[in-house]
């Protein structure tokens, strides 16, 4: 398990390559990258600043990776979340899940992203020409995380 909270950018391809290097047990790698959009709530933005609670963010992400490992048979997981000021086009978050077969890798990546959005202590503030404002949590993101609170279902173990 690799978890990093950092100001610096990351290289998704290099991180995925590092995760599979020298291994022949991995049959599926899902790589998700969240990117700073040029608009928020339909209005253009100049930049996004991510504030975080460092010690808790690390602990909370670790708890959710462990939960993902209980639900699915995963061979490796990497989560990188950036903080600080980002501009449209910049990377924000990276989730990589590796498994023998694709269903576990897809499901775990989606589970981790849904939880990161609603449970990891990060807050986005947008900068526009008119000033700064905090992004509000959306009902859609909460609903996406909520669906995982039902009993875990192991996906079919076929690649």
């Amino acid at each position: 398990m690799t978890i990093r909270l950092q100001r610096e950018d990351f290289d998704a391809a290099a991180e995925a390559a590092a995760l599979t290097r020298g291994r022949t047990d991995i049959g599926a790698v899902v790589t998700f990258t969240g990117i700073c959009r040029g608009d928020e709530a339909g209005e253009p933005i100049a930049a996004l600043t991510l504030e975080h609670f460092p010690e808790m963010a690390e602990a909370e992400i670790r708890r959710h990776v462990e939960e993902a490992q209980r639900r699915w048979t995963l061979l490796s997981v990497t989560v990188i979340h950036r903080h600080g000021r980002l501009v449209p086009g910049d990377n924000i978050v990276l989730v990589i899940t590796a498994a023998s077969h694709r269903s576990a890798a897809f499901a775990a990546a989606e589970f981790l992203m849904d939880y990161l959005k609603t449970r990891a202590p990060f807050w986005k503030q947008v900068e526009r020409s008119g000033g700064k404002s905090w992004v509000e949590a959306t009902a859609k993101d909460n609903a996406a995380a909520e669906r995982w609170s039902k009993p875990a279902v192991q996906p079919a173990r076929r690649g």
């Binding site: 609603t118 449970r119 990891a120 905090w134 949590a137």
Partner: protein, 85 residues
């Protein structure tokens, strides 16, 4: 009991500080009690905690609910709903 209180995002902006040590008066037993008490500490606190339903809390870096007891807590954090990812 003395606890460290931390504030994040707009809760931090409204309170006007990132953290503080607070000597809790007797009778404050839950996270919800603490929010009600903090809201009476001044105008900036009243503004930060004017709608406690939307504020989230963590004790010693784990999410908790308003009814959670604060006995034994070393650090309590208050913040808006999270918007990471």
């Amino acid at each position: 009991m003395t606890v460290k209180i931390r504030y994040f995002a707009w809760v931090r902006e409204r309170v006007g500080k990132t953290d503080e040590e607070i000597d809790l008066p007797p009778g404050i037993t839950t996270v919800g009690d603490l929010m009600t008490w903090l809201a009476k500490r001044g105008e900036e606190y009243a503004h930060a905690f004017d709608n406690p339903k939307v504020i989230r809390a963590a004790i010693d870096r784990s999410h908790v609910r308003p009814e959670t007891a604060i006995a034994g807590a070393r650090e309590i954090a208050f913040f808006p709903p999270m918007t990471g990812g």
